[in-house]
């Protein structure tokens, strides 16, 4: 049988031969993840299961990133409970405070995920690690508790939609635009229960950070995973981030796909997802002049160093428009330090932006950037559901970092090419 990337990676975790799409596979997991919102429930379930130890103290990661730095007493109590659990279990990869970042930016950076891994996380954006050739998928807390106890879980082998991008990316168009464009084409249920597998020259040319951005939003099309081949670029990234033993992985030629979508990107404009679904995607030119009150540049989608540089390139020598709050969130301490060392913070501060510690806060309307009724934001985050960033009467537009930065400068949604 010729395997898709999904089948190939699942096979690495299974003792039985992986079957066709729709069959059930029981697989060992390489890493189990939970955060400050989902870990408390996972721990409750774990105890309820009568489990007394985690399957491997080095392969459970607990990252306190959503309501942290702790926004109130209730969130502080939640983190306290997780911290105690981590101590009791002797968990190696517990992150809080100064060594903590946005989980899906942090784990690849620490070399904790890599090609061929099977990762389950109690966070829907766990699919991010598909950017490194890992089968990574979001589950709920109780599924994660089972994986923490047993070191395995069951997976339905997903049918795969193969997506190939050809041509050459125009200026100011990048990974975020590719994935927004795709979600606009297939809709928020377009990949429901399925895996997305990416390929083509544009993907081969794309850097690993861009692939992580794209894989991150596979869930926004309903996808179970968003998978990229692990090529020489992936291996170089892994080497650089302390994951030396990584191997390349490609799908088999002639693997069976549910459908194959092909797009030429040469004429693509920056894409913007309009309220209130990530599928309401339009080229930036069709939404220009929509005014914004807040700009958020960060999150597990676009809070990496390349995103910081992209935003800084636009903001350099310019000012954030009066009345606009521009919040910039480097996703991890390492990205924060590098941004500082490269002088990007000087650019952000000179422009009048706010630089925040690493946190998921504003993306989910948690804290550090909540919208009031009638307010509108443009963000590099991944969801624009009604009320996502605060009031049910607020609006969120999604875009790439340079469009977000350009919009901060003008106070209206702006194509950076028009500045």
């Amino acid at each position: 049988m010729r395997y898709t990337l999904a089948q190939k990676i699942l096979q690495r975790g299974s003792r039985e031969p992986i079957g066709e799409a729709g069959s059930i596979a029981r697989c060992a997991v390489s890493l189990v993840l939970a955060n400050d919102i989902t870990a408390p429930l996972a721990i409750k379930s774990f105890r309820g299961m009568g489990a007394r130890k985690v399957f491997d103290k080095d392969r459970v990661a607990l990252v306190m990133d959503h309501f942290t730095p702790q926004k109130d007493i209730a969130s502080a109590e939640q983190v306290k409970g997780v911290r105690q659990f981590a101590r009791e279990m002797g968990i190696t990869h517990y992150y809080e405070g100064g060594d903590c970042g946005v989980e899906h930016a942090l784990l690849p950076e620490l070399g904790l995920v890599g090609p061929g891994d099977i990762v389950v996380g109690a966070d829907s954006h766990t699919c991010t690690y598909g950017g490194l050739g890992a089968f990574a998928t979001g589950m709920g807390s109780t599924d994660i508790a089972a994986a923490m106890a047993l070191g395995e879980n069951w997976f339905k082998v997903p049918p795969t939609i193969r997506v190939e991008f050809s041509g050459k990316l125009p200026k100011n168009v990048g990974a975020k635009d590719l994935i927004l464009f795709l979600i606009g084409q297939i809709g928020v249920a377009g990949a429901l229960y399925k895996a997305l597998e990416f390929g083509g020259q544009v993907i081969a040319d794309l850097d690993v950070e861009g692939r992580l951005t794209m894989a991150n939003m596979a869930i926004e099309a309903g996808g179970k995973a968003g998978l990229f081949p692990a090529d020489d670029k992936t291996l170089a990234y892994c080497m650089e981030h302390g994951r030396g033993a990584a191997e390349s992985i490609f799908p088999d030629p002639g693997a069976e796909y549910e459908r194959v979508l092909k797009y030429d990107v040469s004429a693509m404009a920056p894409q913007v997802a309009c309220p209130h679904l990530p599928e309401n995607v339009k080229p930036v030119g069709e939404v220009k002049n929509v005014s914004v009150d807040q700009v958020v540049i960060g999150s597990c989608t676009n809070g990496r160093i390349s995103d910081m540089r992209e935003a800084a390139a636009v903001l350099k020598g310019r000012k954030v428009a009066k009345g606009v709050r521009c919040i910039i969130i480097p996703a991890t301490p390492a990205i924060w330090r590098q941004s500082m060392d490269e002088g990007l913070f000087q650019v952000f501060m000179d422009a009048g932006a706010i630089v925040s510690p690493p946190t998921c806060g504003p993306c989910l309307g948690g804290h550090m950037g909540i919208l009031a009724g009638g307010e509108r934001a443009i963000a590099t985050t991944n969801r624009n559901f009604k009320g996502r960033m605060g009031s049910l009467e607020s609006e969120v537009y999604l875009a790439n970092p340079s469009v977000a930065a350009a919009s901060a400068v003008t106070g209206v949604i702006t194509n950076p090419s028009d500045l």
Partner: protein, 167 residues
């Protein structure tokens, strides 16, 4: 077991932020989450629900976050069954893990109106619309999910497995 209750109908792509917004995620308590169920769709929505009532939705119900607080909130609100055109994947797993019954019936969901009285038999996959007299034959709950429901959810299911491992 059969379930009888009033249908509360919602639209397509109802996300987990609508079912239980992030600001309520500072607890894991079912009663507290249940009291704020669907607060992201319409404030005060829960006031019209009686325990035993049935949620009916269009396509892709439960899309978005992996938060298990969403099925817990629905159960906490006293809703034992959700009937939908289709469900988002993570929500589907979470619901059965929590013992919340889901029935996927595709286009036939248009035959149910808000306020209809329904009688549901998950074992046979039958939905009887008491108000109109119509009967919708859906798929029975899949055997692997039935096993979870029979065990009382994933927690007791794994508990049994762990006990066996230690024995």
């Amino acid at each position: 077991m059969k379930y009888t209750g009033t249908a509360h109908k919602v639209g397509a792509h109802i996300d987990t932020d609508a079912i239980i917004p992030a600001k309520f995620l500072v607890t894991t308590d079912a009663q507290e989450l249940g009291a704020n169920c669907m607060e992201g769709l319409e404030p005060g929505w829960i006031k019209r629900v009686k325990p035993g009532d049935i949620m009916v939705a269009e396509e892709n119900f439960g899309c978005g976050s992996s938060r298990e607080h969403a099925p817990i909130a629905l159960k906490g609100a006293g809703i034992p069954v959700v009937v939908a055109h289709s469900f988002a994947r993570i929500f589907y797993r979470n619901a059965f893990n929590m013992g919340l019954i889901l029935m996927e019936i595709g286009d036939k969901v248009s035959e149910i109106k808000d306020g209809d009285k329904l009688e549901i038999d998950p074992d046979s996959g039958t939905i009887r619309n008491v108000t109109t007299g119509a009967v919708i034959q859906g798929k029975p709950v899949p055997p692997s999910m039935q096993e979870l429901l029979d065990a009382g959810g994933l927690v007791p299911y794994v508990k049994k497995r762990l006990a066996k491992q230690e024995a």
